[in-house]
């Protein structure tokens, strides 16, 4: 292919980041091209067959509210739906679903192929076209050149991927796929710094060889909740997962193979995640544990493969076989694929702006594992933001930058640009200091406005959300005002195991008691609640129960917002002798774009912020040029 093609936006990679980026760009009206090494790899799940989970479920809801595809895709192709953490409070409820991997991929391919302005090209990108520090397109293997105004890199674990099983190491992007080598080197030659990370995956076994009767069944929820605000309900039949455990024999087998483990023989130099250790790591680090939990998860309705969640490993094949067969239910298991570890290049994200655009090369965006994150959901969230911001920058509009109190996606990006990536970054609910504000039930209230502004969702979606909020408001007013007689109150209170009252009470007061649920007061307060669906009732209940806490977190968030609204211009010099040495080094390294971000860099103290403020003020009063604030984030 030697002719020159022109697009407005080129997305390199067809994984979860690439799909969202390409769809968002095309849906915003840009001529978009997705370049992938293999079309058959679009929206594949190389690791666990599940979408969502703790904090990740919230991210999927946010991607949906931003007009993304992930939630719709899993709603249609999920085979088991569960709402995790129901007992821990509504802010940490997290939807999770097992996916049918094949169907998940197929549906996403259909969506991508039918998107009018989106084309897909099967090719390997080996370089970025750059014109005076701005991306001008990509170069594919064989010398073809594709011109584009913006380029989004969503390469996953492919850059210089090196896979390990036991004492074998071989280049690869994932199971059965070649790595992408030229591109990482090309980026390095453009002055973009690289780092090395590691991740891993467990073996898969054949379904017919597993004895599920020896395991504990884990069914889905009876009333599955959809991920998407646009999905009415989940109708498909659900399948179960199964729980089993390792035992002493498993651990002995693992120990016997450690001398051939690439983790312990020093073959692997990349840093792996602490939250997702291999089984050999768990056995070595926690020798006192007599067993570890394992989830057996089907990879699809028709798939013969079972994913052994909890047994991630890079031990030699014979050791993998030996250890798997010590596990109850897996005694006769036939391994279809072996577990492996993979090392890959990433590009430390302090080199990008919060818009995900490279600081070094204008018009070049990074999303997903190339930024050092892990997880399909983390990738999707960055993908959609990269797509949106690339599109907006073509139109010379300001990028969408989410605050930490606005969404997990905001926390994610902010962490990426203010923290050192020491291990693959995963979203945790505890990373969000305003967690009570970032609920899965209000993702639309927080983010829908951006989707509508970018024309990713029709205005009707916004109106439906407003209407929903009005209904909840009306009900909130009524249950706060109308009183229930003491006798009826006490019947409700008794039912919930709460202390009785003497006087009539408003339903809201009753609902503030932790053990009283909205369904309990529904009997006495049917009227106001009638027009609310299940989700809206939860939203109302949360609002009433959490009033004080939510107010407190909101106040805190607003206070921090002040610093986030103070920009630091591009060329600001930290060569100020009053700054502490540590602060000066860190600030130079991260070059935060607001004082808020500066405040979150470890080693930067309040006094350093005060000093920066003084000099910012001096610049302002000097009438110094404000810097290219619009071009960046």
């Amino acid at each position: 292919m030697n002719k020159i093609e022109r697009y407005e936006i080129v997305v390199v990679g067809g994984g979860h980041a690439g799909c969202e980026a390409a769809l968002a760009a095309a849906r915003m009206g840009f001529e978009t091209l997705m370049v992938t090494i293999n079309k058959d790899d679009i929206a594949r799940m190389p690791c666990n067959p599940a979408i969502g989970g703790l904090a990740k479920g919230q991210l999927v809801r946010e991607v949906d509210a931003l007009g993304g595809e992930m939630a719709l895709n899993i709603d249609e192709t999920g085979i088991q739906f569960r709402m995790l953490n129901r007992a821990k409070g509504p802010a940490v409820w997290s939807p999770r679903a097992q996916a049918d991997k094949a169907r998940y991929h197929e549906r996403m391919v259909r969506v991508i192929m039918s998107e009018e302005l989106l084309e897909v090209l099967e090719a390997e990108v080996v370089g970025i076209g750059v014109d005076s520090d701005r991306a001008s397109g990509v170069i594919v293997r064989g010398g073809g050149r594709i011109e584009a105004q913006r380029v989004i890199l969503a390469l996953g674990t492919f850059p210089n991927g090196l896979m390990h099983i036991g004492e074998e190491s071989f280049p690869g992007g994932r199971e059965g796929e070649p790595p992408s080598c030229g591109l990482s080197d090309d980026l390095a030659s453009l002055g973009i710094e690289r780092g090395r990370l590691k991740t891993g995956t467990p073996a898969r076994v054949e379904r017919s060889s597993v004895d599920f009767s020896r395991c504990l069944e884990q069914p889905g929820d009876d009333d599955p909740s959809p991920f998407s605000f646009r999905t009415e309900r989940i109708d498909q039949k659900q399948v179960s997962c199964y729980i089993t455990h390792t035992n002493q024999a498993t651990h002995d087998t693992i120990r016997s193979g450690l001398d051939r483990s690439p983790l312990y023989t020093g073959r692997i130099s990349g840093v792996g995640p602490r939250y997702c250790p291999s089984i050999e790591d768990k056995v070595v680090r926690f020798p006192d544990r007599d067993r570890h939990q394992i989830f057996l998860e089907p990879e699809g309705i028709e798939s013969e493969e079972i994913y052994i969640n909890g047994l991630s490993t890079s031990l030699p094949r014979d050791v993998q076989e030996g250890m798997i067969r010590t596990v109850p239910g897996l005694e006769d298991a036939r391994i279809v694929r072996y577990g492996y570890a993979i090392e890959y290049d990433f590009f430390p994200p302090r080199q990008i702006y919060p818009s995900l655009e490279s600081r070094r090369i204008g018009g070049l965006y990074f999303a997903g594992q190339v930024n050092g994150t892990s997880g399909y959901e983390e990738a999707a969230a960055q993908g959609i933001l990269a797509g949106i911001n690339a599109g907006r920058s073509i139109k010379r509009e300001k990028p969408i930058l989410l605050g930490r109190a606005e969404g997990y996606a905001g926390v994610l990006v902010d962490d990426l640009v203010t923290k050192e990536i020491g291990e693959p970054y995963r979203m945790f609910t505890s990373s969000a200091e305003h967690r009570l504000l970032l609920r899965q039930d209000n993702a639309d209230e927080r983010l829908l406005k951006y989707a509508v502004r970018c024309r990713l969702l029709p205005k009707g979606q916004w109106e439906r959300m407003i209407e929903r909020r009005r209904r909840i408001n009306r009900a909130a007013v009524r249950i706060g005002r109308e009183r229930i007689g003491a006798a009826d109150c006490n019947e409700i209170l008794e039912g919930g195991g709460e202390r009785p009252v003497q006087e009539p009470q408003s339903a809201a007061r009753l609902l503030q008691r932790p053990r009283i649920t909205i369904e309990m007061i529904a009997t006495a307060m049917a009227g106001p609640l009638l027009e609310l669906d299940r989700g809206e009732r939860v939203a109302l209940e949360t609002r009433v129960k959490y009033e004080g806490y939510i107010k407190r977190q909101r106040r805190m968030a607003d206070r921090l917002l002040r610093l986030d609204r103070m920009p630091i211009p591009e060329g600001f010099s930290y060569d100020i002798k009053a700054l502490s040495t540590e602060a000066r080094e860190k600030l130079e390294r991260f070059r935060p774009v607001t004082l808020g971000q500066a405040s979150r860099i470890s080693g930067v103290r309040t006094s350093d912020l005060s000093i920066i403020m003084i000099f910012l003020d001096r610049m302002r009063r000097d009438g110094a040029p404000k810097g290219a604030e619009d071009a960046r984030a």
């Binding site: 703790l54 995790l84 939990q293 991630s312 945790f428 609910t429 008691r513 206070r559 009053a578 005060s610």
Partner: protein
């Protein structure tokens, strides 16, 4: 105009002098109204008011003036309260203001605001930045010194316990599907109650104790038999230390309160420094050196009748950040070098020659102490110490409130995410005292202690 309204003591701390407390920001007037229980005042007029705490108890009578923006030092609404200089009184007014929602001023904050509102010219930016940096250094030094005395162990223990509880609660939220230890609400509530009690004790004893010590500390240091105890007695005006020609008589630390020009000082006499084989005496010497490191002012006593030895210079170099004055004692025996020559030899700006025995030269010494304490870095340290104390007391009260909320929530059977919110706010308030960051530490604690990961 900035969000927070700030408060600080702006005069040097002294026992019976007048102290000026300054408040700046949008809520300055509101805070003054809260402190006096009275509304509406004209700008730039002085009023005589009674200041009350939140229970309506009278703290002090004071002269107050309210200066409306922009005609004030910072360009914001500013309130100045001239109260009695007693440290107890100053601390109480600061604390009362903080309870009305005013924040303690950050280092250099008043000056920074003056700059930002255009009250200082551009050329002064570097100077303001340097001021912030030096005050920050001072504040950290004082805060660390605070923590090294008594307070630290208790607060760190409390913080450790809260973080343990928080880690367990967070574990149950973020790693819900794994087989991990769960938390026992009853156990945690009981533990939290214990912590609240402990905090009360800390606030009553440690913090109050620190407050009492708030007069400036003057430590007398020097080689054996240079006449330190004689100087000590001469300054306090009574025979308190054992004075004898036998070297090494003062083995422990002696402390007495003295007044100079209306300011209070704690004068400390230490064991004479010497090479010694006696363990008790060696301990006394190390107590003395430590006292000097924590002091505001050090009087370094030298036997002026003898030629200063090399070891004297070494010892002088070991004294930390305190303002130090070299005192040439035994003037009555005839000085081997005059004041100027001695200063040159010792490499210091000035020395004062006295005779503790005859009581000559003491007035010059007192004058120097007074000047140093109302202007130099010793004054800054004293002021900072009061601020740090008020700030830490307030932070500890917030820890207590967070724990109380946690106990109430836990009793009511609140879900994990609310328990976590309460514990987190308590831990964050602890962090204001110990400097630890909850978010950074939390995941590290979880990953290092529990086997995570499916």
């Amino acid at each position: 105009m900035e969000g927070e309204t700030i408060v600080a003591l702006s005069t040097p701390p002294g026992e019976s002098g007048i102290a000026v407390i300054r408040i700046s920001g949008a809520r300055a007037q509101e805070t003054l109204d809260g402190l006096t229980g009275r509304k509406t005042r004209e700008s730039h007029r002085i009023y005589h008011e009674r200041l009350v705490d939140e229970e309506g108890r009278i703290i002090d009578e004071a002269l107050v003036v309210m200066m409306k923006a922009p005609n004030s030092y910072t360009g914001e609404d500013v309130v100045e309260i001239s109260c009695h200089g007693g440290l107890q009184v100053v601390s109480e007014i600061l604390e009362a203001a903080m309870r009305l929602g005013v924040m303690p001023a950050a280092p250099g904050e008043f000056t920074r605001r003056a700059f930002m509102s255009g009250k200082l010219d551009l050329a002064q930016a570097e100077a303001v930045a340097d001021l912030i940096a030096s005050e920050t250094k001072l504040q950290r030094q004082v805060a660390i010194e605070h923590l090294e005395g008594g307070l630290s162990k208790s607060v760190r223990e409390i913080e450790e316990r809260i973080l343990e509880h928080l880690a367990l609660v967070e574990l149950s939220i973020d790693f819900t599907e794994e087989e991990l230890p769960t938390y026992d609400t009853n156990e945690m509530t009981a533990s939290a109650e214990g912590l609240v009690e402990k905090l009360e004790t800390v606030l009553k004893t440690d913090v109050a104790g620190l407050k009492l010590r708030h007069g400036m500390r003057i430590t007398i240091l020097g080689a054996r038999n240079t006449g330190k105890s004689s100087l000590y007695n001469a300054l306090i005006g009574e025979e308190r230390a054992i004075v004898s020609p036998v070297p090494g008589t003062t083995r422990d630390l002696l402390r007495e309160r003295i007044h100079i020009e209306g300011f209070t000082y704690y004068l400390e006499d230490t064991a004479g420094i010497a090479e010694t084989g006696c363990e008790i005496e060696a301990r006394g010497i190390s107590i003395g050196r430590r006292a000097a490191r924590g002091a505001d002012i050090v009087l370094f006593v030298i036997d002026g009748s003898l030629e200063p030895e090399e070891s004297v210079l070494d010892e002088l170099g070991r004294i930390g950040g305190a303002e130090t004055l070299c005192v040439l004692n035994k003037k009555d025996l005839g000085l081997s070098l005059d004041e100027e020559a001695a200063a040159k030899r010792l490499g210091v700006e000035r020395v004062v020659a006295v005779s503790a025995l005859e009581g000559t030269g003491l007035n010059g010494l007192r004058r120097w102490i007074h000047e140093t304490s109302v202007s130099g870095s010793a004054a800054d340290v004293g002021r900072e110490r009061i601020a740090v104390n008020a700030r830490q007391a307030e932070a500890l009260r917030e820890v207590s409130e967070g724990l109380e909320r946690f106990i109430a929530s836990a009793r009511e059977g609140a879900p994990a995410e609310l328990l976590s919110a309460d514990l987190r706010s308590a831990a964050e308030s602890c962090g204001l005292v110990t400097g630890r960051s909850v978010t950074d530490d939390l995941l590290d604690t979880i990953f290092s202690r529990f086997c995570i990961g499916k």
